[in-house]
Every structure is written in structure tokens, then in C-alpha cells.
Symmetry: C2
Subunit: 225 residues, 2 copies
DNA sequence: TATCATGTAGAACGAACGTTCGATAAGCCC
DNA sequence: GGGCTTATCGAACGTTCGTTCTACATGATA
């Protein structure tokens, strides 16, 4: 018996926060398993990773794992839910008190990239195993994602209103998400800049485009044709 | 015996072109199987799709499939190679004769999006099953991809030179790829614009940013802070 | 010391996996 | 008509899959 539907702060019914250092013994153990599972899912993909891989990574028997959650799918759900909830929570904190629309968009980018680079494996699992979850689990994750998208859309709309601009918010926002999310396919900590620098550069591209001079000082445009 | 190492234009040793209407009977049959497999891989992912799924989709027995290729992995390789080769080929044709740097970047975007939307399932398999292929197969696909990236990098460098701009080409190009590739996660033929329109809007964002007015007429900027 | 919830593991379950085998038609050349 | 090649199939191979059953420790409580 037991497993993740028990009354636990990470899993079942309650709040779903676990910074991996608090909570009951059960919660701490489960959080560790989630960390290992994230790594394995990241490397082999959800379908490609077997429960035996997870058991090896967690240094626990196959059967022992099932004490902490009741299926492989639920494990993925727990990872995705925790990751997404955390991003959203931090974003809300950071946006509080800032009112300049351009600054608010930049904060969104900064928050997104910072979390993405600090938790690269988790967000790869989030991005890559996007439509694996079925029914209830899938719907719940999709709802959180929709909310996150909605916030970004609102920020862009604020910007449009404030600056009297006219363009498709949907395409702009989805393009921005593309820029940011794609990072998990190419970012290399040894050669690429950190989150702050990347956020600035991507913010420049999104807001002003490469032709306006991106990272460098304002450049004069020399039209060719 | 036989299977895809035979002397065939799609598979083994030779040129790897098959517009699915030419070639030997063997090639035409294999091309059909590849189409079905693309659809199944797209829906269930490479690992998630079983050979039995493919056999059902192709309306051919499990054993019958193996007459045309020698492993599931090779099948994925054939799909990816054909798709990528085609994009690259079309790009080269279109760039010929155009010399304005901005126009050349726009052609790149247009070509990419056009193919992506016309072959959404194939490119999803391309993007999503990026690091599944091992050793020889993986290396070959990676090489084609590198070449494609190199071309885009060159286009952006041309633009920088022509307009006297200063920014990180690497980040700009990878951001652009992100914008464009992410499309497979959200594009909906019933509500979203076609490739031409999308290419224009993404080109505007990449080149001039949303603050310069994206799709609409040049907008005046109203600074708030 | 007996009892009880908490953890953990070995061994096995049936199902599904990718792949191979041997047989069997149908069409072609001699 | 006999001997190739091409194309297809049912059945099975050995392996691995996610999951479950049962037993056995451990430490706290009574």
C-alpha cells in the first residue's frame, strides 16, 4: 500500500511543493527519486527509459520504487507538475511591483531562461514529453501551461497598448516561446553565456530585432536595395 | 535477402531522392512505407511506435516490412535523411540569384516554414527524434544539420557586414531556429496563417522586433519610462 | 516482548517488444 | 515445365517491458 496518493506534500492531494530538503522522510525520498528519474527521462526519453533504468539510477529495487508512486505515468506527471508550478510561482513574484511593459516582458524572458538553464534536464522532459500524459494528468498539466501562455500574452498586449503597436500577439508570443524553449537543444554551459546575458540578447531580438543592433551599441542602418 | 541496402535510389548506396512517384517498384513501395511510418512516428514518437503499429499502418505483415529495410532505426534514418536533404536542396535553388542580405534571410525563413508546414509530420519526427539515431546514422544526419546551420549563420553574417551591425550571430541564428522549429508544437491549419504570412511576420520580428511595428505599418514608439 | 506501520527486495506475471525463420505464391527467363 | 527472383506471410524467437505478490527486515509504540 501507500504510494503517491497518500497524504504527502509532494504527491497526492496537497500542495505539491518540495524543495527536496524539507517534508517527511517519504517526501524527501520521493523527491530524490524524482531527481534521478528526471535525469534518466532527459537522457533516454520517457518511452525509452525503463523502470529498470530508474531503479538503477535511484539505487533501489524495481519493486521498491512502486512504494513511492503508482505508475510510470504518474512519475512523469509529478515531475512536470512540480517544474511548471515552480516557474509560474517565481514569475508571479518577480512581476509584482514592476509596471513598465517592456521591463515586464524582459522579466518574463529572464525568469524563463534562468529556470531553464538551472533546471535544463527537467525542462527538457517538460518540453520533449509534452503530449505523453493522458486524460486527467495531461489535462492538468495543459491547464498550467495555458495559464503560463496567457500571462505572456497579456504582457505583450500591454506592450502593444502602451506603445501603440500593431501585430499578431499570438504569433509574437509563440515565436518568443520558440526562441526560449529551443535553448534546451543547443545550450552548452562551457561556451554559451549565462541566463542573464541570454535573456538580454533574446529580449533585444524580440523587442527590436537584429537590424537595430541587438547586443552592441545602436547601429546605423545601411540600406542596400 | 534484399532490404534497404540493396541498390535502390531511395535507400542504400545511391542518391537518396524519391518523390514517391518515380523509381522502381521497390522504391515506390518503400516510399509509401516511409510515409506511413512518418505519420506513426509523429503520433506516438519513435520509441512509442512499435513495428506492429507500422505494419498496421502500412497494411503489410510485420515480416513483410523487413523486406524493405533492415531495422527500425534505419527506417528513422531514411525519413530524416530524405526530409533534410530536400529542405537543403530547395533552399539552395531559391537563394541562387538573390543578393540582398535581408532578402536572403527572408528567403531562408520562407523556405524553412513552407517546408515545415507542408510536411509537418515529417519535420516533427525530425525535430523530436533528434538524438535517437546512434553512431553512423546519427553522425550523417548531424552533418547535414550542421551544414544547414552553417548556411544560415553565413546569411546572418552577410547581413551584419552589410549593415554594420554587431551582435552574436550564434545566438541570433539559434533563436531564429527556435522560433521556426517550435511551430510544430502549435500551428493549427484552421486558425493560423499560411507559410508566406508567417514567414513575413517572423522575419519582421527577427529583423526589426515587435517594437518596430511587426506586421502593421511603421508605428511610432511611445516611451513610458 | 509482542504489535504495528514503514520500507525494501526477489521473483515472478502476462504482455509487448524488435527481429528472424521457413514457407509460399506470382512473374519472368530458358 | 523447371529454375530463378521478387514479394509476402504466419509463427515463433529470446528479450524486455510495467507491474504485482509475498516475504522480510526495521524501528517505534504498547
Amino acid at each position: 500500500m501507500a504510494s503517491a496518493t497518500r497524504s504527502s506534500s509532494l504527491s497526492g492531494r496537497s500542495s505539491a511543493r518540495v524543495p527536496a530538503g524539507q517534508g517527511s522522510r517519504f517526501d524527501r525520498r520521493l523527491a530524490k527519486i524524482l531527481e534521478h528519474a528526471t535525469e534518466v527521462f532527459c537522457e533516454k526519453g520517457y518511452e525509452g527509459a525503463s523502470m529498470r533504468d530508474l531503479s538503477r539510477a535511484s539505487r533501489m529495487s524495481l519493486a521498491g520504487l512502486y512504494y513511492y508512486f503508482d505508475s510510470k505515468e504518474k512519475l512523469l506527471y509529478l515531475i512536470q507538475k512540480y517544474t511548471f508550478t515552480t516557474i509560474l510561482e517565481r514569475l508571479r513574484e518577480r512581476l509584482g511591483g514592476v509596471h513598465d511593459p517592456e521591463q515586464r516582458v524582459r522579466i518574463f524572458i529572464q525568469n524563463h531562461l534562468e529556470y531553464f538553464l538551472a533546471n535544463q534536464k527537467a525542462v527538457k522532459v517538460l518540453s520533449h514529453e509534452d503530449d505523453v500524459l493522458k486524460n486527467g494528468y495531461g489535462a492538468e498539466i495543459a491547464a498550467i501551461k495555458r495559464e503560463y501562455y496567457r500571462i505572456c500574452l497579456e504582457l505583450v498586449d500591454e506592450l502593444k497598448r502602451a506603445q501603440g503597436l500593431e501585430f499578431s500577439s499570438r504569433i509574437a508570443v509563440l515565436s518568443l516561446f520558440g526562441m526560449m524553449n529551443w535553448i534546451y537543444t543547443w545550450h552548452n554551459a562551457r561556451v554559451d553565456a549565462d541566463a542573464g546575458e541570454l535573456a538580454r540578447e533574446m529580449g533585444d531580438i524580440f523587442l527590436h530585432g537584429v537590424c537595430r543592433g541587438g547586443a552592441g551599441p545602436q547601429a546605423k542602418r545601411v540600406r542596400v536595395m
